[in-house]
Symmetry: C2
Subunit: 241 residues, 2 copies
């Protein structure tokens, strides 16, 4: 009887073509599956809580797979073969019904902005050279809480796809030269956090008003929103079950 094994994974997305396995490209899921195949000597299908884009980081991504080995053995073996930009933080045996993707209740993303230039944090933050009104950005962020259609804040996809998301919280924090946006939702559309951040920064620098932001959301039209913020500032920080 195979065990259902849950992995907590941290990764630096800088040198990956995102989470999802793709032929010929270095991806996080691909590296993990390759390492698990070496250890288990068989094909492994890893189920992640969701995809992250090219260059996006994760402090705590969740995934599960079936294995005959116990958690201790898997942790040791994986840690010895994985590259330095993927770290297994925890391995746990879970009930057979657990599915990292479908059992997830919500996901939390964090986006970091540095006001000015930074050599030491540039790989993990978006460097924004102009001043921003955190007050206006917070007012606009408050408008997205609750259930809404986020078509304006996602890359164009098939019209049939459901664009409703339930945002549980969306908060800006400000300390010295750093701004941090934390958002929790039941699901996220493609590039949704980065387009939201790109648009909220336009509100912060005064190009859009808070009322404009509301109109953009109601328009359900990607072309009305601001630019997509760079991937390096984004990090998946938690998946709740």
């Amino acid at each position: 009887m195979p065990r259902n094994i849950k992995l907590e994974i941290e990764y630096d997305g800088s040198d990956f073509h995102g989470w999802q396995t793709q032929p010929e490209l270095r991806t996080v899921q691909g590296e993990l599956e390759l390492s698990l195949q070496k250890i288990l000597n068989q094909d492994v299908k890893l189920i992640g809580s969701g995809r992250t884009d090219v260059g996006v980081h994760a402090l705590r991504q969740l995934a599960n797979f079936e294995s005959g080995l116990d958690q201790e053995t898997i942790l040791k073996a994986l840690s010895s073969v994985l590259p330095r930009d993927i770290v297994i933080k925890r391995v746990e045996e879970v009930s057979p019904g657990f599915n990292a993707r479908f059992s997830a209740k919500s996901r939390v993303y964090r986006y970091r902005i540095f006001l000015g230039r930074t050599a030491l944090l540039r790989r993990y933050m978006w460097e924004v050279p102009y001043s921003l009104s955190v007050e206006r950005m917070s007012q606009a962020a408050a408008l997205i809480c609750g259930e809404h259609d986020f078509s304006s804040f996602c890359v164009v996809q098939s019209a049939k796809e459901n664009s409703l998301c339930r945002v549980d919280s969306a908060l800006w924090r400000h300390a010295e030269n750093e701004l941090e946006f934390t958002i929790e939702a039941d699901r996220f559309l493609h590039s949704m956090v980065r387009i939201l951040v790109g648009t909220l920064v336009e509100v912060g620098r005064g190009y859009f008003s808070v009322a404009d932001f509301m109109s953009i959301m109601r328009a359900k039209d990607r072309r009305k929103a601001g630019p997509t913020a760079p991937a390096c500032g984004l990090c998946l920080v938690e998946v709740k079950y």
Copy 2:
């Protein structure tokens, strides 16, 4: 009459062969001098507060040079030509007698350790996989305060060179999985902070006792001390004048 211009510089040391200009190698001083030459259209000799080794970072390195241009123009011009891993934080005109190296009263370095593995901080911390006694490391660190001969904690150099340094403070801070060592001294010998940290970690994991540490310091012999900690954990954080 040329002006004496002081630069405050932040850099990510990962992709540099240290501070000092060297033929054929990418160095911080070399990149800065090259950029200044483009701007000023003449040879520039930049005086740094001190050298940093291959892979060592700086949050606030200080340097000065002579120029006919004013500080605003220099800041704008430099910021537009420098690579992303060097950031000019401030440009200031100072009195003619100011010399970034000889006017410095003390330098402050910070060394960061992560207890375990980290994907997201690995470029800026030393990953130490075993548990450490911060209490013993702090006791040993207290012994280096004051004026001492630090021959045991530097790479072998000519016997004639002065190995006396006055350490003003040497403190460990501990928060969750992170350890931070901050040391202030009037001067530092080659690789001194990294050999001190490597030896203090040996105290922390119990390979050396605090009394052993005292004997090592008194021996004035590099071979008695512990290994050199990796460069990536080290950062020059301040130069005091």
